[in-house]
């Protein structure tokens, strides 16, 4: 894995398909987006993270030509943002809260949009059936969209985003409001689209676990500015802290607290405030080298096992995207 000059890495030398440089947008006195610069590679999924009002949707709207930036520039598949109509031919978008005409069938809906991309009625019809098949709605092609569940509508929205065989697909909160199974299926679909079509996917989401699960790269925005970007592993690795969390049965909590406090290099042991039943252990001498960290953590687990206290769960704080997100966005807000 080799990071490029913007910090986002590539595998098997995929080509850059979206290049954004110094994009800025201001609403009145508030800077919604500050110097957004990144590169998206073909076949990769890029997660766009940020708290509410961080500038995610504004960034997406600029990159999808719905909104003009105050300054900056971007290119999609070598087409300059000076040609928004050409850009729109190359991108597919599933906006947040996409509305659907209730009186149209799924097939009519996709055929209509296919024709708006200059396909003949016949071509658009064939394309519509192919896409319905791809998103698993082939059996509901003739059903009115008004009768669709939220999950089915999201699938249809993704099919609509793919109607022009785009090089870049923007998905804004695609799993919002879906049940866990629906979320999982949709995420698998997104990953498949990226891999099979070599399409670049930009996935905007609040669900950090899903970003972590399927994204290759991540950009974290806070108050309009990029606070971290790069491959998910790199971003997560950069923020690791000297804290570990362990979960033990309720009956063993008191004994565990006493035992862990007696260990060497342990600075502080407490019940985790955010996660009930978890014990948070902060090490006194945090070492920059990963092997030293692991040794310290292993001694923690070893002590518990030797004391015959069952370890239900264990994780290193900072080892998850959520920790990175919380830390970085908190720093910017401060």
């Amino acid at each position: 894995m080799k990071p490029d000059n913007t910090g986002i890495s590539a595998t098997e030398n995929p080509k850059p398909i979206l290049v954004a440089e110094n994009i800025q947008k201001t609403y009145g006195n508030r800077k919604a987006v500050k110097d957004l610069t990144f590169t998206l590679l073909a076949g990769r999924v890029l997660g766009f993270l940020g708290p509410n009002g961080a500038g995610k949707t504004t960034s997406i709207r600029i990159l999808t030509t719905i909104m003009e930036p105050d300054s900056g520039h971007f290119m999609v598949d070598n087409t300059s943002s000076n040609h928004p109509e050409l850009i729109r031919r190359k991108i597919g978008v599933l906006p947040e809260n996409l509305g659907f005409p209730r009186q149209m069938t799924a097939f009519e809906y996709l055929r209509y949009f296919g024709q708006l991309y200059s396909l003949s009625p016949k071509e658009a019809g064939t394309n519509a059936f192919r896409l319905l098949n791809e998103v698993g709605l082939e059996n509901r092609a003739k059903s009115l969209i008004g009768s669709f569940s939220h999950g089915m509508r999201q699938r249809l929205g993704i099919a609509r985003a793919l109607v022009n065989n785009p090089v870049v697909v923007f998905l804004d909160e695609p799993t919002l409001g879906l049940d866990p199974r629906g979320q999982q299926e949709l995420l698998q679909l997104i990953q498949r689209i990226a891999r099979e079509h070599q399409t670049g996917v930009i996935l905007c989401s609040h669900m950090l676990s899903e970003i972590e699960g399927i994204c290759d790269d991540v950009i974290i925005l806070s108050s309009g500015q990029v606070v971290a970007q790069g491959p998910v592993q790199n971003v997560v690795g950069n923020i690791q802290r000297n804290v570990a969390r362990v979960r033990v049965p309720a009956a063993n909590v008191e004994a565990s607290l006493e035992l862990l406090r007696s260990l060497q290099n342990v600075f502080k042991v407490s019940l985790s405030p955010q996660m009930q039943g978890w014990i948070s252990v902060e090490f006194a001498d945090f070492d920059e080298t990963i092997s030293q960290n692991e040794k310290a953590r292993n001694s923690l687990l070893k002590a518990l096992i030797q004391a015959e206290i069952p370890v239900l769960s264990y994780e290193a704080e900072g080892g998850r995207l959520q920790d990175v997100f919380l830390q970085l966005t908190e720093e910017v807000i401060k």
Binding site: T65, L86, K90, P101, Q115
Partner: protein, 477 residues
């Protein structure tokens, strides 16, 4: 990567590699138009509005026919009133549909997906506009049978349909376009509907002004500038008062200027800048002002220069001593019957009389009864005659259309016109006619009931047929 070194040829080439349609694509405006048509007409608001419209026309035609039975309104006036109302409702439908076109799509989150396609904004607006005016032909077709029934064979029917179609085809696009412009600048549908309704009422205001305010120079000018009032005035004069097009064509200037202005702004200024948020950037307002201020100014000058309201005049009168007689003492009739009689005015003096005015008065003898407005009861409220030589007489024929049952006294007043502002004259009263009107009602006045009910029923059947066709289409894929 240096973004400023974009190779446009490469960009075009790569795009061509991506999605290459091989078949014959349809124009985007046509796709948007057909899509909007389906939305409006298949279980959509256009169909519902047209159904309400047909019910309204049915009620109107029934009421007018009932009045016709009572000889309250001659066919010409009924046709004009019917046409005026049909057009007012059609304009309302156009305005409401236009008001929903863009802000409604914004609110339903369906606009963004269309804006994300490579279709030019102007084509989206044009397709939507064409669909927005589609209820007008349907409204006109529905109105024609009602106009035929209510015209009762009068020659006014042909010109009424012709001029109704022409003026409606000017005003409906203008109102629909206006609704779309309001919708373009409205962040919510509620605002769009509210503003559109306000504008609609504003255009109706001149017709609600007191009589003198309407007939004075300023009032006439206001009516002339207002495209709706101007069209109504033109239709009234042309259809009811036998006035020619050559005399009243100037009243069609403001509707034409209005439609050109509205559609110009919609298609050339607002349309190309259609976006997800309401309105356009502040740069746009400057552009709009620079482009439209000159045309608005020019339109105003044109309107002001051509206004026929600039030359209204007044007259004067004088006094004399005369007698007036009536050839009828009493009459017992049913409501709706006509009562005809004659008056004779004689100059018994030794010198020529002043110009003479004979006015009809009808008094309800029942203290609890309604006050009678003779204008409603007779087409000849007043009649005028030239000065009479000594010993000469003049006869006038009168008709009373009895409207309400009751006990009335009809008498005439003879007024010599005063010669100047500082003189007056002595009116002379005629003997009275004791008029007794007995009640008479009909359920099916003029045989119009089948039409009044049939129109909405046919529209309803049309809706059901469309619904079934759509269901079949869905079932058959």
């Amino acid at each position: 990567m240096n973004l400023t070194s974009v190779n446009e040829k490469d960009a075009q080439g790569m795009m061509a590699d991506r999605a290459v349609p091989k078949g014959h694509a349809r124009p985007a405006w046509w796709l948007v138009f057909t899509r909007e048509m389906a939305d409006l007409w298949i279980g959509g608001k256009a169909l519902n509005m047209i159904l309400i419209y047909s019910v309204l026309l049915g009620v109107m035609v029934y009421v007018y026919s009932y009045n016709s039975e009572l000889s309250l309104i001659p066919p010409k006036e009924m046709v004009y009133e019917m046409l005026k109302n049909a057009m007012a409702v059609s304009l309302f439908i156009g305005l409401v549909i236009g008001a929903d076109m863009l802000s409604g799509e914004r609110e339903r989150n369906t606009l963004e997906s269309v804006l994300l396609t490579p279709v030019k904004r102007g084509q989206i607006v044009f397709g939507k506009f064409l669909a927005g005016i589609s209820p007008w032909p349907a409204a006109l077709i529905i109105a024609i049978p009602y106009l035929i029934v209510i015209s009762q064979g009068d020659e006014v029917l042909g010109p009424a349909i012709l001029w109704g179609a022409i003026t409606g085809s000017v005003l409906v696009p203008a109102y629909t376009g206006l609704g779309m412009l309001v919708s373009f600048w409205s962040s919510s549908n509620k605002v769009s509907y509210f503003v559109s309704l306000g504008i609609y009422i504003l255009f109706l205001v001149p017709a609600q002004l007191p009589g003198r305010a309407q007939t004075g120079a300023a009032g006439q000018f206001l009516q002339w500038v207002n495209p709706l009032a101007a069209v109504n005035h033109f239709l009234s004069k042309h259809l009811v008062n036998y006035r020619t097009l050559a005399e009243f064509w100037t009243w069609l200037i403001s509707p034409v200027v209005f439609v050109v202005l509205i559609l110009g702004i919609l298609f050339f200024i607002a349309g190309p800048g259609l976006r997800l948020e309401a309105g356009r950037s502040s740069k746009f307002l400057k552009r709009l002002w620079s482009r439209s201020s000159a045309s608005i100014f020019l339109a105003f000058i044109l309107l002001a220069g051509a206004s026929p309201a600039m030359g209204f005049q007044t007259g004067n009168a004088q006094a004399e001593d005369l007698t007036i007689s009536i050839d009828l003492d009493t009459a017992v009739v049913k409501s709706g019957d006509k009562v005809e009689f004659n008056t004779v005015v004689t100059n018994n003096g030794s010198s020529q009389s002043l110009p003479l005015i004979v006015a009809m008065n009808i008094i309800n003898l029942n203290a609890q009864g309604d006050v009678v407005d003779p204008e409603d009861w007779s087409p000849q409220r007043t009649q005028y005659s030239q000065p009479l030589s000594p010993g000469a007489s003049v006869s006038h024929a009168w008709i009373i259309n009895t409207i309400l049952d009751g006990d009335y006294m009809v008498y005439m007043t003879l007024i010599p016109a005063p010669g100047s502002q500082d003189t007056t004259s002595h009116p002379v009263a005629s003997p009275g006619i004791h008029l007794t009107v007995t009640p008479f009602t009909r359920i099916n006045p003029g045989g119009v009931l089948p039409y009044a009910i049939g129109g909405p029923v046919i529209v309803l059947i049309g809706i059901l047929v469309l619904y079934r066709m759509r269901r079949k289409q869905i079932d058959n894929g």
